[in-house]
């Protein structure tokens, strides 16, 4: 028999929207931009848009389709995110999937005492170190708003602590343009030069408009700063259904898309080719409790749908998964984290944050992050699909075996079991007696022990002395 074509592995991928649905949302977005318009509070942004061909009526800035088209044309289709040591670890490209922790919780659950308390700067660093050690966490984002630093310097401390705690790329938040300048100075010191930083960026700004339709000066100036410097930024609006967005996901997506595209247009007007991460947040405002739910099925529904929009624009995208509304790391948390991680993976969301949140994003949990790491590992295996080839079809072994005798001792089993089966790390499959002998530990207890073990043992390459000098300077300037 001549050599035949191999049957390739089908790696399951889920689209949430049909091509026609994507276009319908796109057209709705163009309608919002050109007919409804946005309220642009930043004078520089207003000037930029008007000069480029937008117009103003009823104190709204209205944006024609060609600005959208031009911005999509000049925005890069990939953002090569590096670690802070200069290695390409997170090329943000469609089809690739990356996970990271989720940001700016007020509270954290103390891994040693179990107490829910205000987060501190040390917590941010500890969480970064935990994320650094976990194989399936690709980037870090601050797992707390530190309560023990001056409120005006909060985001600076977050950034410093993330850098100290991890070499992985980070996603950061800032208060204003002054914060941006200080963070940029630190980043340049870490990279060695402005040029090195632009070439191998390890930080990505997370700024957002105020949905619906309000573009504040403060947040747009952060985005403009990144565009001026040519460093990566995301500008995902929170068109959460029933709050910042209409109660229906379709409208929420159209509106979120419009606001996000305003950010994209501004970034490309300032500097064509500015690395811009597309995306939006479309979680649901719960109609009983008024929390924004991080466990609802609408959350991944919306995030998966916006991935179809991202593919339509050929832009990598922001997403979110691996969080929970539960107040503790319990069965509900397990269900909600798994549901959103699996669905986001199936949709090939590019940069997925919020991993390790509990209590609808108010509290960070080390146990949740450790468990999510295992869920991501399992999901990655599952989404890898089935290899169909002569070896996996095992015809020789099937022919060789004695009826009823089983394959356990066959050499085909020995040669293939490690790749043919997923081998858990945190999930327990012990026999009952072995499990009791090992202390009858539930998932939470095991995750807690693992987190503490990592904090005790994991070492991170420290920042250079030059970078620490700049950090000390900035903190001194801010104290003055």
């Amino acid at each position: 028999m001549p050599k035949q074509l191999s049957v390739s592995t089908l790696q399951p991928m889920v689209k949430m929207l049909s091509d026609e649905q994507v276009q319908a949302i796109h057209y709705a977005t163009l309608e919002i931009l050109s007919q409804t318009g946005v309220e642009m509070q930043d004078p520089q942004g207003r000037e930029l848009l008007l000069e480029a061909g937008a117009w103003e009526s009823n104190s709204r800035i209205k944006i024609p389709e060609n600005l959208v088209t031009d911005a999509i044309a000049t925005a890069p289709s990939r953002i090569p995110m590096h670690d802070r040591l200069g290695n390409l670890t997170m090329p943000l490209e469609l089809g690739k999937v990356f996970f990271g922790s989720g940001s700016d919780t007020t509270f954290t659950v103390d891994v040693k005492t179990g107490e829910r308390r205000r987060a501190t700067a040390q917590d941010v660093e500890n969480f970064a170190r935990l994320g650094d050690a976990l194989d399936n966490i690709d980037f870090v984002m601050s797992m707390g708003n530190p309560s023990d630093v001056p409120p005006d310097d909060l985001y600076i401390h977050e950034f410093i602590r993330m850098l100290r705690g991890s070499t992985k790329p980070n996603v950061y938040t800032t208060k204003d343009r002054t914060d941006m300048e200080d963070i940029y100075r630190i980043a340049v010191a870490v990279a060695g030069s402005e040029q090195a930083l632009r070439e191998k960026p390890f930080f990505l700004l997370y700024a957002e408009p105020i949905s619906p339709l309000l573009i504040p000066e403060e947040s747009l100036q952060k985005l403009i700063f990144c565009a001026e410097k040519g460093v990566p930024a995301a500008y995902p609006p929170s068109t959460n259904t029933g709050a910042g967005g209409p109660i229906t996901l379709a409208g929420s997506l159209a509106l979120g898309n419009a606001e996000c595209l305003v950010g994209l247009i501004i970034s490309q007007l300032i500097r064509p080719g500015t690395p811009f991460l597309y995306g939006m947040n479309t979680a649901a405002l719960d109609m009983k409790s008024t929390i924004v739910s991080y466990g609802s099925p609408e959350w991944p529904l919306g995030m998966m749908a916006q991935m179809d929009l991202a593919r339509y624009y050929n832009l990598p995208a922001w997403s979110a998964a691996g969080a929970s509304d539960s107040k503790v790391v319990d069965t509900q948390a397990g269900i909600e984290m798994t549901f959103s991680i699996l669905t986001n993976f199936l949709a090939r969301a590019t940069l997925i944050h919020d991993v390790g949140y509990i209590e609808y994003g108010s509290t960070s949990s080390m146990e949740a992050l450790v468990i999510a790491d295992e869920i991501i590992r399992e999901t990655r295996y599952f989404t890898g699909g089935l290899d169909i080839n002569p070896n996996t079809l095992a015809l020789d072994a099937i022919a060789r075996i004695r009826p009823g005798g089983g394959f356990l001792a066959d050499k085909h089993t020995l040669n293939n079991f490690r790749t043919s089966q997923w081998i858990p790390k945190m999930i327990d499959r012990k026999q009952y007696d072995d499990w009791t002998a090992a202390g009858s530990k539930d998932m939470f207890t095991r995750a807690n022990e693992r987190a503490r073990e990592i904090l005790d043992e994991h070492q991170v390459t420290p920042l250079s002395e030059a970078a620490e000098v700049v950090i000390a300077e900035i903190l001194e300037e801010r104290a003055a």
Binding site: R402, G404, G405, G406, L408, A409, T413, L414, F417, R418, I423, Q431, Y432, D433, D434
Partner: protein
């Protein structure tokens, strides 16, 4: 030899045994200090979760092959085997996989295993225990429905006057310590690895 054994290199282990024989080591020494001792890290790492069943079985097969090389010499010098075990799948059951697993694990631990196959009647079983002068009668049940035949077998051993000549370890998912006591078995193990350990302890 022990490293080769750990990595399941049958040829290397057989060669090492032949070399040890040529150098004048006694077969008992080779068995105890080479093969049996060599299985210890395998069992330890399996328990710790670093090795998996297919790898343990590979080592067990290598040990078995090694013992086969030694067998003529062992018999010649009258060295007793580690213990003799008759293994069957009980009457009414055609399932083979667990029995084969147990059989191989026991061989790997140095036991001599007489495998009578599947769907074996108690009479035939007792006959073999008698003929082979077995030290152990080990039984496992997968389903609750097979548990009564464990009791029937022990009763048959008592009737044949063999109960005090053999140790009876039992195991399997539905088997509890209370059941072990109720039917008059000697010990209980939840899985094949633990069963081998239990068998070793019973004849130690």
């Amino acid at each position: 030899m022990q490293t080769d054994l750990y990595y399941g290199d049958r040829d290397a282990v057989e060669t090492a045994i032949c070399k040890a024989i040529d150098e004048g080591m006694s077969p008992k020494e080779i068995l105890d200090n080479g093969l049996i001792l060599g299985m210890e890290p395998v069992g330890r790492d399996f328990k710790a979760g670093d090795l998996f069943i297919p790898e343990v079985l590979l080592c067990a097969r290598v040990i078995h092959a090694g013992i086969e090389v030694l067998r003529p010499l062992l018999e010649e010098s009258g060295v007793p085997t580690r213990g003799k075990l008759v293994i069957v799948t009980m009457a009414g059951d055609l399932h083979d996989i667990d029995k084969n697993l147990m059989s191989m694990m026991c061989q790997g631990a140095g036991f001599e295993v007489i495998d009578l196959g599947i769907d074996v009647s108690p009479e035939k079983f007792i006959e073999a225990v008698l003929a082979e002068k077995a030290d152990l009668v080990s039984m496992s049940a997968l389903l609750t429905t097979t548990m009564p035949s464990m009791k029937a077998t022990i009763d048959a051993l008592v009737q044949a006057g063999l109960r005090d000549k053999v140790k009876v370890p039992i195991g399997g998912a539905p088997v509890t310590a209370k059941h072990t006591q109720d039917i008059g078995a000697d010990s209980i193990a939840p899985d094949a690895g633990a069963a081998v350990e239990a068998a070793q302890n019973l004849i130690a």
